[in-house]
């Protein structure tokens, strides 16, 4: 019964008892268990990406009204393995003049920063990597490691386009870390702890119902941190000339994309843990394996939403992205923080219905006010748009001219 209810803890206990039975000291037993656990988790995350890439390509195909990969294996499930075999045997070209240590380190850092996220996420009530008490700040910190990888890629490629692409990528990533970090303050406020285990354990009512605007800000910021559409200017296929990874070939190039896909799933998992309740669900405390199932379902829902957004929304330009972040998302995040802090203090104590309704009302009011302000801004800007010059006479007029020439020309 205990094996079915909680297989991972059962195996861990059994293995520890076997190792202690061989006479190994307690400290070393724990060290070996740590190494085994970390290795299996990291390796499992990387292998899981194979299935993830297939899911994304199939879903993208369906959104774009085509079938997606369907040749290699039934429903094309071996397509990713075929791609992996191909990319493993491509030649790894190092361009002349590139600093080879940094050139090789950059994709490793990019992948390591995504794998490092898996160490703190609670997969079930008893299965988690580690429960450090600053888990939220750790999530932000490994993002910094990833940005470092991108700067190294741009700097070490000895290519001016890679340099420009690297700087633009880092500028986008650090800009979107600000609303990311501010929106993460809200779950910390509600649960009184920075550790992810405590945040999940304290969500009797999922935090998305208590702070929907903060959840929205976090969702958008995490898509932008990932470098996915609509924010994928930094490594999109058609922009690749100005991307930071143009000098990479073979598996080093593939490593960036594996990191990208895995990061999308991991961001979905973090969102599900922080705002949707993680492994919480009916019966999860008694049977921890159910907790894992609940987390997987919630993560899959958020991940499918992310993939659908990727294949639906057009790409933003870099100046639109920066303006969106600094002029809309950061003030919205700050306003959400202040409103939630004030309303939560003013509401009566306990997680009663009144407090949740009050928070809902405050968030709805905030969203409504923001919408009004943006509409007024946009209306003022449209009114101010002057005609820059007189329209030139068009020599051919075989088609009827539109009603107002200035609207076409501006």
């Amino acid at each position: 019964m205990s094996f079915i209810a909680d297989p991972v803890t059962f195996i861990i206990n059994w293995l520890s008892s076997v190792l202690s039975g061989w006479g190994i000291a307690d400290m070393w037993v724990q060290f070996i268990m740590f190494v085994l656990g970390a290795g299996i988790l990291a390796f499992g995350a990387m292998i899981f990406t194979i299935g993830l890439i297939w899911v994304e390509r199939k879903l993208g195909g369906r959104v774009q009204d085509r079938i997606g990969p369907n040749r290699v294996g039934p429903w094309g499930i071996f397509q990713t393995i075929a791609d992996m075999l191909k990319i493993f045997t491509k030649e790894l070209i190092t361009p002349t003049g590139a600093d080879s240590t940094l050139f090789n380190l950059a994709p490793i850092l990019a992948m390591a920063s995504v794998l490092g996220l898996w160490a703190v996420i609670p997969l079930s009530p008893t299965v988690f990597g580690t429960n450090i008490d600053v888990g939220i700040l750790y999530l932000i910190g490994v993002g910094a490691l990833g940005e470092l990888g991108i700067i190294l890629a741009g700097l070490s490629s000895n290519n001016k386009y890679a340099l420009v692409g690297g700087f633009r990528a880092v500028a986008q990533l650090i800009s979107y870390e600000v609303p990311f970090a501010i929106a993460l303050l809200i779950p910390v406020m509600f649960s009184g702890s920075m550790g992810l285990n405590d945040i999940v354990a304290s969500q009797k009512v999922a935090f998305i119902f208590q702070a929907p605007v903060a959840a929205l800000v976090f969702f958008i910021a995490s898509i932008a941190e990932n470098g996915r559409a609509p924010f994928d200017l930094i490594e999109a296929d058609s922009e690749i000339v100005a991307g930071f990874n143009i000098e990479y070939s073979g598996l080093k190039f593939g490593m960036y994309y594996v990191a990208d896909f895995l990061h999308a799933f991991t961001s979905a998992m973090i969102f599900a843990s922080l705002f949707l309740g993680g492994w919480r669900g009916p019966g999860a405390e008694l049977y921890p394996i159910l907790g894992f199932v609940y987390l997987f379902i919630k993560t899959a829902a958020v991940y499918l939403l992310t993939v659908t957004i990727r294949f639906t929304v057009p790409r933003l330009r870099i100046d639109q992205m920066m303006a969106f972040n600094w002029k809309y998302l950061t003030p919205l995040a700050l306003a959400t923080l202040l409103v939630t802090a004030i309303v939560d203090k003013a509401a009566p104590a306990g997680q009663g219905l009144i407090r949740i309704l009050l928070l809902w009302a405050a968030n709805a009011a905030l969203f409504f006010v923001t919408d009004r302000i943006v509409t007024i801004f946009r209306r003022n800007r449209e009114k101010e748009r002057k005609v820059v010059s007189e329209p030139r006479p068009v020599p051919i007029a075989v088609r009827p001219l539109p009603a107002s020439e200035s609207e076409v020309n501006s």
């Binding site: 740590f34 190494v35 970390a38 990291a42 390796f43 493993f88 045997t89 030649e91 790894l92 070209i93 361009p95 002349t96 003049g97 090789n104 490793i108 850092l109 390591a112 794998l115 490092g116 898996w118 160490a119 703190v120 990597g129 580690t130 450090i132 939220i136 700040l137 490629s157 000895n158 290519n159 001016k160 420009v164 650090i174 800009s175 870390e177 600000v178 970090a181 501010i182 303050l185 910390v188 406020m189 009184g192 702890s193 920075m194 000339v241 143009i246 073979g250 080093k252 490593m255 920066m322 303006a323 600094w326 002029k327 950061t330 003030p331 923080l337 202040l338 802090a341 939560d344 203090k345």
Partner: protein
């Protein structure tokens, strides 16, 4: 040291090793035929012109600076968020003042045009 941080260190070392191992395996499996043409720097299909350093826009530095100020502010706010359940309303007022001062900084940056991507 608490065992949690040890696990984190082990995990980070392993997550550095796994991609390194994968790239090492790819280096073994892949052909190695370097030629001057293959190793030359990419520049839209033409020969490279000029050095590979560019004139750096000051705008990047301003974005990094803005991020630094807001990052430090957020780090100051995290202990407040952890202690939120025991903070009095006066404490919330103090934090509102803190955030409003820095929001005024953002408003100045907006008006001065530092947020435009030139």
């Amino acid at each position: 040291m608490p065992h949690e941080w040890l696990y984190l260190l082990i995990f980070l070392v392993i997550s550095l090793f796994i991609p390194a191992f994968a790239i090492g395996m790819a280096a073994l499996l892949s052909p190695k035929k370097p030629s001057p043409l293959k190793n030359s720097i990419y520049e839209c299909g033409i020969e490279t012109v000029g050095s590979s350093r560019i004139q750096f826009k000051a705008q990047y530095y301003l974005y990094a600076l803005l991020f630094l100020v807001f990052d430090v502010e957020t780090v100051f706010l995290y202990p407040f968020a952890v202690a939120y359940n025991q903070v009095l309303f006066f404490g919330v007022v103090e934090v509102v003042l803190f955030v409003l001062i820095l929001a005024a900084g953002l408003a100045y940056a907006w008006r001065a045009g530092a947020l435009e991507w030139v």
